[in-house]
Symmetry: C2
Subunit: 327 residues, 2 copies
């Protein structure tokens, strides 16, 4: 038998899947397990499933519960961090769910809960693309555009925990309508949802494109990142054009944030960045460098895709737990 190893479990709770990751105190990954996110049966059923997934992950890692220092969850939506309550997560159909208390009761270990975008950036900052940078901005492009900020090596959450809403900074007054009710937000210009809207509009207006066919073939109703990647691989002209436009806006967004906050590093995360890496971020970086103030060397700022892929959130949740525990 091996000697007992101290272990942390990070959980990334997303709208379609839950991912649990066990790591040791050097953040070495011991095991990763995934399950589908259940929406039927209410919060309690999903929380039981999360607890079960944590157990399976520990089994696979060969770690007993006694050696688990903490379970730490990155979850969507605004969160009451002190009490570990998910205020509202439309993705999960949750409202004021006391995730921390319920998981603690099931697992009987310390549980931490933090916003998924925040833990994603914490992971990249501690272990990935942002390593060695004191001030880092994370921009996560998915169905929406989320963001997170690290100043002086610490997560910055603002005065009411609402900081990082980079997706709702206006880049084009009078631009397209955003889900938030305003016009011209970054999210309305460059999220996956905005790209899908633009692709559908182009096809409706008579442009030739295979995107809808690819969606049909893959049995998808939405233009997911895998659809985007497949269409770009086939050089679909509409997809290429829409992607270029989104990249341009994301470049302006990155420049705005760098001009305001002067970080060492901007990390792009989310499904598209994970799949396309520098094919996605390269053109964004080019536009951003053009828009940066010339004052200091603009190329001194790294603008890069994340390095941790699917594990960023779960690893970041572990980083967070260790900070909170002071170990």
């Amino acid at each position: 038998m091996t000697s007992p190893k101290i272990c942390y479990v990070g959980v990334d709770l997303g709208g379609t899947s839950v991912r649990a990751l066990a790591a040791d105190s050097e953040h070495k990954i011991l095991a990763v397990k995934k399950a589908r996110t259940l929406r039927s049966g209410g919060p309690s059923r999903l929380i039981h499933r999360i607890a079960g997934l944590v157990e399976k992950t520990l089994q696979e890692a060969g770690v007993s519960r006694a050696n688990v220092r903490a379970v730490s969850v990155g979850a969507p939506g605004p969160i009451d961090r002190v009490r570990g309550v998910i205020e509202e997560a439309p993705n999960l159909g949750w409202k004021r769910v006391p995730l921390r208390a319920e998981l603690r009761q099931l697992l009987r270990v310390p549980v931490f809960v933090e916003n998924d975008v925040n833990v994603g950036l914490m992971g990249e900052h501690a272990l990935g693309a942002g390593r060695g940078s004191k001030n880092v901005v994370g921009i996560f492009v998915g169905t929406g555009i989320g963001g997170a900020l690290i100043f002086d090596d610490e997560l910055y959450e603002g005065s009411r925990g609402g900081a990082g809403e980079v997706g709702h900074t206006v880049l084009a007054v009078n631009g397209p309508l955003c889900g938030c009710g305003h016009r011209g937000c970054a999210e309305a210009l460059a999220s996956r949802t905005a790209m899908e809207r633009d692709v559908r509009a182009a096809i409706k207006s008579g442009r030739k494109s295979n995107v809808l066919k690819i969606m049909n073939k893959k049995n998808k109703e939405r233009m997911t990142s895998s659809i985007i990647v497949a269409a770009l691989k086939k050089n679909d002209p509409v997809m290429r054009e829409v992607m270029s436009r989104a990249q341009y806006y994301l470049g302006v967004l990155a420049a705005n944030v760098v001009n305001l906050l002067d970080p060492e590093c901007v990390v792009f995360g989310g499904g598209i960045a994970e799949r396309m890496k520098d094919d996605f971020v390269g053109p964004i970086r080019e536009t951003a460098y053009q828009y940066l103030l010339r004052r200091s060397d603009p190329k001194g700022v790294k603008i890069v895709p994340g390095q941790l892929g699917d594990n960023a959130g779960a690893l970041g949740a572990i980083v967070l737990a260790r900070r909170r525990l002071g170990v």
Copy 2:
């Protein structure tokens, strides 16, 4: 004779005038003196004038040099804080001027030098409109638009000292050309320079306006804040329209910054804000509140004019000096 009082001198070094202010350890103002900014004769002549102004201010305050703990200067442009060198100040025609060393030699007291916008916000944070707020954003509207950031009660200057360039965040891709070479920056939409451009264009296109007449009468070549105030008092229709548009963009800018940084307070400073107070900031606040995410109570954020007026920079420089001295 009164007992010797410990005293600090703050200096606000601007493109048109220099202001020196002596205050005691409770920031009670003991004396304020002003002089014109000399451009002829090079940096050395102006630095001698600053030293002379400090002496006169101390005389008026009835404080001997031995009781001066520090002289602290807010100066334009990027600054090498460690060495107290003004990197570049086009306003003064300065390039790499070792202001700290030269003033220290003349005055033989500790000298500190910091960017003028940063000290302006430090003043408002410690003693004015931002009092009691941990996270504060300053937006200073003048010929350009400058900004400064305070997080967790400390000035945030970014990784290369370049943070706060709120004036060069793009609000309207493809908008008017900015001095920085890009299009649609806040500065190109809502600075005093942008307003003057718009007023002149409206007049050129045949609109009726008294702005140019008022400028002639006051013997001004530029549309200064006093001209703007005079034109608004006379209900000049072009001036009102141009001001409303600038206020709208400043409202969007404030909302962008609040959505990203979630501060307790946004302070508007600069000549127009000082003169017009809430007549300037009121409409900005209204637009900003409309653009804030509904998630938390948007009215929880204060969006207000500065309270220290012309003294913000000099008082803030004193606050900075005391922080640096640890007193």
